[in-house]
Each structure stands twice: as C-alpha cells, then as structure tokens.
Symmetry: C2
Subunit: 278 residues, 2 copies
C-alpha cells in the first residue's frame, strides 16, 4: 500500500452498520492499508477469525477500541479482567495499540476516581508489556468527564503515562476531543518527544452540537476544526503512524458505507494529508 | 447583612422570569446582600433606575454580565463600542466586576480568534481602569469554544490577564465551566495569588446533560460537582467576595422564583458555605 492513502485507516464505528467482514473487505477494496476495530465487531466474528480476516485482506489493525472504564468503586476485579481480555484481543489481532477510555466518576469524588485509574493502570501495565500491547490513554472532551473519562487533556494523559515505559503506555490524539486545548501545541510536541503518540484519530466538531454530544462528531470539513494545523503538530511531533477516521454521527451512520468511505478519502486527501507530509 | 448568607448573591439569570424589580426586591426580602445582573434586565429598567433600585433595596451588585464577544473578524468597532457601554453600565451600577465572555471562532482559525481577543482586551483596559471597573475574564467550558468562548481554562484566562494590572483584569471561577480541569487547584491558587479572582459563580453539572448544553446547568446538589472541594480552593486562594448563583435551566426557569431562592439558600448553606469558612 502506498501513495496518498498509505496511512489512512477506517475505524469500524464510522461505518457502524457494517459487519466486520463488510468493513474489512470495503476497506481493502478502497485501497486503504489499515482498519481500527471496536471490540463489539471483533466479538461478533470471534477474535481469531477477525485476526485472520484482517490478515487475509492485507490490512493492519491501527488500534483496538477499547479498554478502560477503570474508575468504578465496586467493580475493580471485573474491570481489570475485562481489560486483560482486551489486551489479549489486541495481541491476537496484531495491533500494538489498545485505546483506553478512562471511565467517569461514580460519585462526586473526581480526585478519587483519578487515583483509582492510576492504580489500576499500573496493575495492567505488566500484563500489557508481556504481550507487546500499548495502553493508549485517550483524553476525552471535558464534557464527558462525568460519565466517560476523567482524562480530559493530553497533558493529563502524559502525566498519567509518565511512570510507565513509553512502549507500554501511550496517548491518543483525537481532534474532536482536544482541538480546543490552549496547550495543544505544547502537549502534542511533548507526546511526540516522549515517544507516546499511540494513535491519531480524526473527526470534526459540529456547530451547533447535536442534542446527544456523544454523536456530535462530523466528517472532516463539516465542522470547525483546522485539520491542517493539528496534522502539522502531529507531523512535527514525529508521528508516522496511521490516521484513523472515527465518526459517531447518526447521519453518517444512515449513509451507505461505501459513500462514507469515498467522502472520507476525499476529505482526508484535501484537508489532512497535505499537512502530514508538508 | 451578616450571618450565613452574607456572601450569597442571586444572579438574575437564575430567576429568568422575574423583572429586575421583582428580582431585586425578592433578593432583599430573602436576606441576601447582593445580586448579579444581566444587561438585558438592566436595559429594561434603564441603567440609572436600576442602580437606584439596587441601592434603595440595600443590595450591592456582585457583577454585571456581560461584555466580551471580542473575536469577530468584521465587527471590531461595534464590539469595542458595546464593551465600552458595558463598562459604563458597570460603573453606574457600582459593581467593580464586568464579566467578559470572550466570543467563539467565526472561522476555523482558533489562534487568530485568540489573538484578536488579546488585542481588543488591551484596547479596553485603559477605558475600564479609568472607571474602576475590572474586566473579569470567564473561562467557559470547552464545549463552548466554537460558539461562545475561546477561553477554556483558568490558566489560559490568567495568561491573558497577565500583561494587565490585577485591578483591571480578573478571572471568573464558575464551577460549571471548570470543575473538570486537571489543573484546577493550581489555577485557583494562582488566580488568588495574583489577586485576580473577580467572581465565584456556582451551579451544578447535570448527568446526563440536557440536549441544549447551554441550559444544562443545575441547582447545587442536583449534579456531580463537589462544591465543598471547589469552595475550599477558592477560600484557600484568599477570595472573600460574593458567591453568585447563576443557573441556566428550563426546569428552574419554570419554577416560581421565590421557591428557587429558598432552595438556593438551603443548598448554599449545606453544600457551599461550610467550606468557605471552614
């Protein structure tokens, strides 16, 4: 795989209506080299079958979404078990990057939730390291702090990662979640310098937001994010990995998958790719 | 005015259905010492009449909301004029604090919008200083970065304020906007050390959010914010000013104003006041 799409990856959430097989075959047919997988699609196919399917179609897995949800009060054992399974799945799928969504606050104690997260991350690192899987901490937009992720900025993710080897704990740069950050340039540079950029995920910020903020993500170009500027930061930070398009959006989901793939390729080519190599 | 409500202020937006006179008289009757005013209510009454009304009822004005919206491309003159009028109004009302909501991004150029904001702020400072009015920069939650405020954190607001005297440019600590910030403790302490805490505004973060994030604010205790923890930070930062309850919420707005005032007093007494003096 080469040329202008040599780093473009389809995240299965973007074409939510497709089975894993449909997504894998369409991604390969579209000339893309990589696919980002969600665990629900992998589970439907079975992890060994999924790994074979991806391999047989000549694709690599840019990341597996997701582990995490490590902030609960009463469910530590179950949460750790589920994350170990996710690490095993990532290893079987041959992807080095397991995206970790931290989890929210089960009560009003935000520092407590963050402390539990740090403790449990430390317990998972050796298991992940043994399997050559990196735990890719994803800062989520601060509007998800209560219910989804107590990691809200790249700087905070890097602080959490710092005690652990760069090969075992990284961070995810997702445009939707971090475009507003006044310290974005410094944080992306720091993530690159630390060798910790696990993934670069892209989608746009729509104005106005949709009523459910979870599905307020847009196709690149449909919102207000300057993809060229952020791609240049990621480039200057030394990141050479895949660029994964992950869009949660009811309109995109209602659109025929092959059309979504085509639009995604055009927008990537026009808005993102030039800055990646520029 | 003394006792447990000696620092509690009603922001007129919380009892949106009330005229200025209704809000002022109810605030005084409820034994509160202060009121936070929005300019629409002031305009309805006329600024001189509003000032007299507040004074005659023995209240002080904790802040005036709002100036700002200084990020536009084509409307610089009009925006500066409007802010000068807001400064004049604050001076007439006898409040030292004019809340500034920065404005969003008119295009995809976030650094450009921030640069225009800094330039225009600098142009307003002398005018404000001559009238003993402080421009109180309010970081808004990052979900409003595109359409309302390119200032998203206290640290960023403090950086913007830094070139100007502390008596002329301050920052607003609003629980709804900043509760998630991983650097909250450091930033509140820094704001206090710089003598720049202009206002402490409180309301809660509801889970789930309402479909319109603008009105997703809740009465203290109805959401997930730890008011005791944040009030303690503000106390430790040396802030001794008013605590203004500003709630944008359709259910609160549909509730009889006197009931809202009573609930607000109870929640303040139970959740906020102990930490302010503790």
């Amino acid at each position: 795989m080469s040329g202008q799409f040599a780093r473009l990856s389809l995240n299965t959430m973007t074409t939510k209506g497709w089975t894993l097989r449909e997504a894998v075959e369409a991604t390969a047919a579209a000339g893309l080299p990589a696919i980002g997988l969600w665990r629900d699609r992998v589970a439907e196919a079975g992890v060994d079958a999924a790994a074979k399917m991806v391999r047989d179609n000549g694709l690599r897995v840019s990341s597996l979404c997701r582990g995490g949800f490590l902030t609960g009060v009463d469910d530590e054992g179950a949460a750790l078990d589920d994350n170990r399974r996710a690490i095993d799945e990532a290893a079987t799928l041959g992807t080095p990057e397991l995206v970790i969504v931290a989890g929210g606050i089960p009560d009003r104690d935000l520092p407590g939730a963050r402390a539990r997260l740090a403790d449990r991350l430390a317990r998972l690192v050796p298991y992940a390291a043994e399997r050559d899987v990196r735990l890719a901490l994803e800062p989520l937009h601060p509007m998800f702090c209560a219910d989804r992720a107590v990691i809200s900025t790249l700087a905070q993710a890097l602080d959490l990662a710092a005690p652990h080897p760069a090969r075992s704990v990284g961070v995810v740069v997702d445009t939707f979640h971090i475009w507003w950050d006044p310290n974005l340039a410094e944080s992306v540079a720091a993530a690159g310098a630390a060798g910790r950029i696990s993934a670069f995920q892209i989608c746009d910020w729509l104005v106005p937001m949709t009523p459910d903020p979870l599905v307020s993500r847009g196709m690149m170009g449909d919102g207000v994010i300057d993809f060229g500027a952020i791609a240049a930061l990621v480039r200057d930070a030394g990141y050479t990995g895949d660029v994964e398009v992950e869009i949660f959006n009811e309109t995109v989901w209602a659109t025929e998958g092959s059309t979504v793939l085509e639009v995604m390729k055009q927008r990537y080519r026009d808005l993102v790719a030039p800055a990646l190599t520029g």
